[in-house]
Amino acid sequence: MSELRFHNLTLGYERHPAVHHLSGTVASGAMVAVVGPNGAGKSTLFRGVVGAIKPLAGSIERDGRDAHEIAYLPQVADIDRTFPINVYDMVAMGLWRSKGPLGGIAGTDRHGIEEAIAAVGLTGFEERSIGTLSGGQMQRMLFARLLIQDARIIVLDEPFTAIDQRTTADLMNLVQRWHSERRTVLAALHDINLVKANFPDTLLLAREPVAWGATVDVLTPENLNKARLMCEAFDDSAEACAIREVA
């Protein structure tokens, strides 16, 4: 059973492809690392997966799911840290899919929120306003919100960048927990050792897919070199792509 299916997918900006002709499937319950240099299209792919941008060509199938059902942690969350709101309320926002704009938050929900806050190690921080959190605490809080979202598919865009080892290890445990609960996880990562230690599958992306499959087969020195040679700049005088969409 496949949770996500890419058909000859091209995503990009102003006609320039950032992800070029990607095809493949993410099986239900898979735990896939997306690896590649800066500018390889990892974030673009994720934004396409969650429906924030439309494909330039090709398509994404989400097994009949609405894109809003996917839990998504962007690389740089555009959170207004000066906003007067505390950790508890911020985590509670994860209930949006089930509560909507007007639904009440019941005792069991409160229990779940407290559990999620405890699971990320932020117990005692409930009343703290988000502006007082450190970078790592902020990321812990956002993971608590992901827990509350209770989504079948979880997309994490460089979740451990600028995060210390202890926090990374704690949060990686949560990702492992999602995996053991048969949720589908996609994560963009730069730490090759972390990927090798934790992620069964890897997609190596350098605008074009370089390799996709079992992590041991994908992260070979040859493949990584190939990915490194990718040209970062868009060519403003590029011709229209000759590869036609396959019907």
Binding site: H68, A77, F83, I130
Partner: protein
């Protein structure tokens, strides 16, 4: 003596109307101001207050100093400008504030032309610009203001959650729901409604003051949004009540009177506010052990 100063003005029915209107205004405008501030739209609110002018002027042109006609006109003008600004910025690369600024200038110019061509005496003009002299208000205005305030409060309660979420983490709201656009548009409509209320109570130039200034006051006293809204309402109530007394005793229009009182509270908050007030910056106290 003091009780005479405080209570005598409210023996007059029209002054009581003013007080009731200010109370209604405080409850609806306080939270709107807080969201304007948190969305960094305070100046947009200020500018929007001019956008309603041509509509009000057309209402005035058609029906004279009829509160209902001017309300309707202002509502239509404000909504059209808000929607146009939003539409232009979405359809083109122009930012919303830039497109809004252009439309507002056009709108204000149009309003002044209409008012001038129709002819208006100086007393009417003063009321138009700065609110009722000595805080005397008729029943129709009170009805319109309290009606608008009621609608505003109910609608704000309905969009409260997406509005908060859209302020603090707009990307997350978009990732879970389509409601950000609706919430934003509803908020703009409520802003227009409150601007019209402000216009009726305090005049077109200063009406926005009771929306924006109380939010600025509240920001200096709390880090919690619910408390901020409560304090903004409180600040608006005090400014409104004291401003009416000031306007009555000094025989001046209510707009500047209420705005100046709010200004005093604001200055006090900037100096002594528990959250980021100047005095606490200069004398922060000794640091804690942990």
């Amino acid at each position: 003596m003091l009780s005479q100063f405080l209570f005598e003005p409210f023996g007059d029915t029209s002054v009581r109307h003013s007080l009731a209107a200010i109370v209604a205004l405080a409850f609806s405008a306080g939270p709107i101001g807080v969201f304007l501030m948190l969305r960094r739209m305070s100046l947009v609110g200020d500018a929007m207050s001019h956008a309603i002018l041509p509509g009000v002027a057309i209402g005035f042109l058609v029906a004279g100093l009829n509160v209902f006609a001017m309300t309707l006109g202002g509502l239509v003008a404000g909504l059209v400008i808000a929607l146009l600004a939003g539409a232009v910025s979405r359809a083109t690369t122009l930012q919303e504030d830039a497109s809004l600024a252009v439309l507002l200038l056009l709108s204000l110019a149009l309003g002044v032309v209409i008012v001038t061509l129709h002819g208006i005496d100086i007393e009417q003009l003063m009321t138009f610009l700065f609110g009722e002299t000595a805080a005397k208000m008729n029943t129709d205005k009170l009805l319109v203001i309290s009606g608008n305030a009621t609608i505003s409060l109910v609608a704000l309660a309905l969009i409260y959650r997406p509005l908060v979420l859209g302020c603090v983490d707009p990307g997350f709201l978009r990732s879970v729901s389509h409601s950000d656009g609706i919430a934003h548009l509803t908020f703009l409509a409520l802003l227009v409604l409150n601007l019209i209320n402000g216009f009726h109570a305090l005049g077109t130039l200063l009406g926005v003051g009771i929306i924006i200034i109380p939010a600025g006051i509240a920001r200096f006293w709390t880090r919690d949004i619910s408390m901020m809204i409560v304090l903004a309402i409180g600040g608006a109530l005090i400014s409104g009540w004291a401003g009416i007394l000031f306007a009555f005793h000094a025989g001046i229009p209510s707009g500047p009177a209420v705005t100046l009182i709010a200004g005093l509270l604001y200055i006090g908050s900037v100096l002594f506010g528990r959250v980021g007030g100047l005095v606490w910056r200069v004398f922060p106290g000794r640091h804690l052990e942990a």
